[in-house]
Subunit: 227 residues, 2 copies
């Protein structure tokens, strides 16, 4: 299995984020990839040809790009490494959850299967990183978490918004105002027995929401589902 360069790995990861991880999208455009990676479209173009030659992506002239089976496998490995390192930094080295990303961007490119397997073991096979994102296991599988609404979430748990039930403009405006969006981590700080208000923290900001609102927010909770 050929070793990929730091840069090639970043392209695969970028395409992965823009397609597979973004719900129902399956292909990514050249400009889109360029913006995501902070390089120019011409640069991306060269790399797409290279990745196609290596059979890591599907790509045709003037067409959109998507990962091949092998490309996806590689991308998942990188994501796995990134998230394991983030978990390590947060849990073992006491980094704040917002400081881990930058360092993990570097650590994810270290080449050593043994290192990652041992790290996974050392961290006790975590299923989610400090941001609440799922960590693929050594086989590249993601544990599929059951969906529920925010009203059902336990106090103290960190969950992640994956959707909403209500689609009215009024509701969505409020969602937006709270800083909520797809994939946004939410922490449930407390529940008031008196009026069932729920205190949550979103992106460092605390809010108190009504049960009516909470039952419209669809979430998954890795904490609830740790083995």
């Amino acid at each position: 299995m050929q070793v990929l360069s730091y840069t090639e790995e970043n392209y695969l990861k970028g395409i992965f984020k823009l397609t597979i991880e973004m719900a129902d999208k399956v292909e990514a455009g050249t400009n889109e990839i360029a913006t995501h990676l902070g390089v120019k479209p011409a640069t991306v173009n060269d790399m797409l040809k290279k990745l196609k030659d290596k059979k890591l992506i599907h790509y045709e002239r003037y067409g959109k790009s998507s990962l091949t089976k092998e490309g996806k496998k590689r991308a998942i490995e990188i994501v796995r490494k990134h998230r394991l390192w983030e978990t390590f930094l947060h849990e073992k080295l006491a980094f704040n959850w917002d400081e881990v990303h930058e360092v993990a961007e570097q650590l994810e490119h270290i080449q050593s299967k043994k290192l990652i397997d041992k790290l996974d073991q050392f961290l006790n096979y975590p299923s989610a990183d400090p941001h609440g994102d799922l960590i693929p296991n050594a086989k590249g599988e993601l544990s599929i978490l059951p969906r529920k609404t925010l009203i059902e979430e336990l106090v103290g748990h960190q969950c992640k918004m994956v959707g909403v039930k209500d689609n009215s403009a009024e509701f969505l405006k409020y969602v937006d105002k709270l800083g909520l969006s797809i994939n946004q981590p939410i922490k449930v700080k407390a529940k008031q027995a008196y009026d069932n208000q729920i205190d949550i923290e979103v992106n460092g900001k605390k809010h108190s929401i009504s049960p009516k609102f909470a039952e419209q927010i669809i979430i998954v909770c890795p904490t609830c589902n740790k083995k």
Copy 2:
């Protein structure tokens, strides 16, 4: 403080190993550096000019090279990172001591002061790596270890040969036969009360040596001197 490339860091580390770490040598030749780093002299030549411009080495055309104060400081930081990572891999992730080097070669280039400080703390400020080499502290200082002879070493400790007392050909031949050399780690496995023979392990091989031999081997022991 300018960030150095992966490659520049490796050159600094290489020059450091060939000069300061090699006892009484103070300068390294171009060919010598090339051999050490596995590249061609022409390549080294270009880099020497570049490192000179950056004031990291002293270098004159057709002359030998040595680190400036700043270059030395940088090299020591890299060595520190390397040895801390080796210690992490060995102590926390249960890597064998002969497996750690390769991975540490990659990890030593991760740029994050916070990461290294936290790692140092997490490992409880170790003073030597799994090979017995000293780890510079955050200020770049090496603890100077007291010298003693192998006969004084405690059972279970890992020490490192730093010299010999006897210089006869006969003795040195035997030293060589045991796989001993300057900087060679030695582990004291046991001492026989009966005849004072000492069981040691050198490079994975076990030997039983006489007290007469042991008292000619000068060592330092980081384990004995841990704070």
